[in-house]
Amino acid sequence: MNINATLIGQSIAFFLFVWFVMKYVWPPLIVALDERKKTIADGLAAAERGQHEQELAEKAAEKHIREAKGQAAEILSQAQKRAAEIVEEAKGGAREEADGIKKAATAEIDQEVNRAKEHLRQQVASIAIAGAEKVLKREIDEKAHGDIVDDLIAQI
């Protein structure tokens, strides 16, 4: 356990190695560590930003969907309304048309009936005249008795 020049040797070596480490070992490693720390911090920040953006996008998407849904519902209700309108219009048109047809038919029927009546009346009149001719065994002057015949026709 002698104290001797080993002491000096060790002291010199100590300074040398501290110097070496300070110059060649510590700076590159600490720089690498710091850079990695920065990279990680940046990455984390980016991730957070991404998450935030995703949240925003999700919110926007939700809003869009809600709007679209609203629009769809509106369009649907409008379409339904329009459809109902069309149906109503169609119904109205059909009814009018039907009424027209009915009216025309009724008019035609009336006309036909009148025509038939007229015809019948004339036939009856001629038959009656013929009958009367036969009865009177002479010809009635149509011109002279026209008004009587007409009166008869009207009475039928």
Binding site: M1, N2, I3, N4, A5, T6, L7, I8, G9, Q10, S11, A13, F14, F15, F17, V18, F20, V21, M22, Y24, V25, W26, P27, P28, L29, I30, V31, A32, L33, E35, R36, T39
Partner: protein, 287 residues
């Protein structure tokens, strides 16, 4: 091990003797063949084993970390880079926690101190006879008498080594004290507290003792712990010379002590580093 005609005392003494190369008053520069010769060499002698192992370990540490530093990527670290970065982070957080000033030397200094002391202490876990036996074989191959080849493998059990490092820290303390506070400021710190200008002599004695005690305690704490641990390993190794049962019990003891020692060597390295940081922090603080 303890056999070969040696007594237990011889065995222990043999293990606690450094391989010394120095200026013998009679023989000139040579290896010491006996402890007496080593003593006669006085100051101008080197403990070849302590210095050799301490340099070798420091070089291992330096080149391992230098390799990592060269290839350091900012991407995902792999393998040894992971380990090195873990240590760097640990040192860096220790320095940030204890050192309030701004000085680029402190963190590398702390790393060097921690890694070096740890590696030197780690040699304590190598079974006490392996490397000395190897050295004796090698020495015998070169024609030397194996009984006169001494080989101590744990540099931190050599007070020269621990004092060498502690004095290194001490010079740095003095250098930065004077650099930061100026000669006057540093002297004022020593002379004018705690009792003011009236008690300048008392102050000088008190502060001087506390200043000197820093490197001394730093060196002696490490040396004492490691020396005691090493001695216990040697004592345990003595048991292998006994019967089979004693030897087996010795094996168990060695295992247990080695496992416990893992804690001690790490702790001692950590304490040495932390105190280094704290002392330098004190050197940087102005009052």
């Amino acid at each position: 091990m303890a056999g070969e005609g040696l007594t237990s005392g011889d065995y222990i003494k043999h293990h606690l003797q450094n391989m010394t190369y120095g200026d013998h008053p009679v023989k000139g520069w040579t290896f010491a063949h006996t402890p007496e010769e080593a003593k006669e060499m006085g100051f101008w002698a080197f403990h070849v084993d302590s210095l050799g192992w301490s340099f070798a370990l420091a070089l291992i540490f330096f080149f391992a970390f230098r390799k990592v530093a060269k290839n350091a990527t900012t991407g995902v670290p792999t393998g040894f880079q992971n380990f090195a970065e873990m240590i760097i982070e640990f040192i860096n957080s220790s320095v940030r926690g204890s050192f309030s000033g701004k000085n680029d030397i402190v963190a590398p200094l702390a790393l060097t101190v921690f890694a070096w002391v740890f590696l030197m202490n780690l040699m304590d876990l190598v079974p006490v006879d392996w490397l000395p036996m190897l050295a004796q074989q090698i020495g015998a191959a070169f024609g030397a008498d194996p009984h006169h080849i001494y080989f101590k493998v744990v540099p931190s059990t050599d007070p020269n080594v621990t004092f060498g490092m502690a004095l290194g820290v001490f010079w740095l303390m003095l250098y930065y004290s004077i650099k930061i506070k100026g000669v006057g400021g540093f002297f004022g710190e020593l002379a004018f507290q705690p009792f003011g200008k009236a008690g300048i002599l008392v102050n000088l004695v008190l502060e001087g003792v506390s200043l000197i005690s820093k490197p001394v305690s730093l060196a002696l704490r490490l040396f004492g712990n490691m020396y005691a641990g090493e001695t216990i390993f040697i004592l345990i190794a003595l048991m292998y010379g006994g019967s089979l049962a004693v030897g087996a019990f010795g094996g168990l003891l060695q295992l247990g002590w080695a496992i416990f020692h893992i804690l001690i060597i790490t702790l001692q390295a950590f304490i040495f580093m932390t105190l280094t940081i704290v002392y330098l922090d004190m050197a940087h603080q102005e009052h």
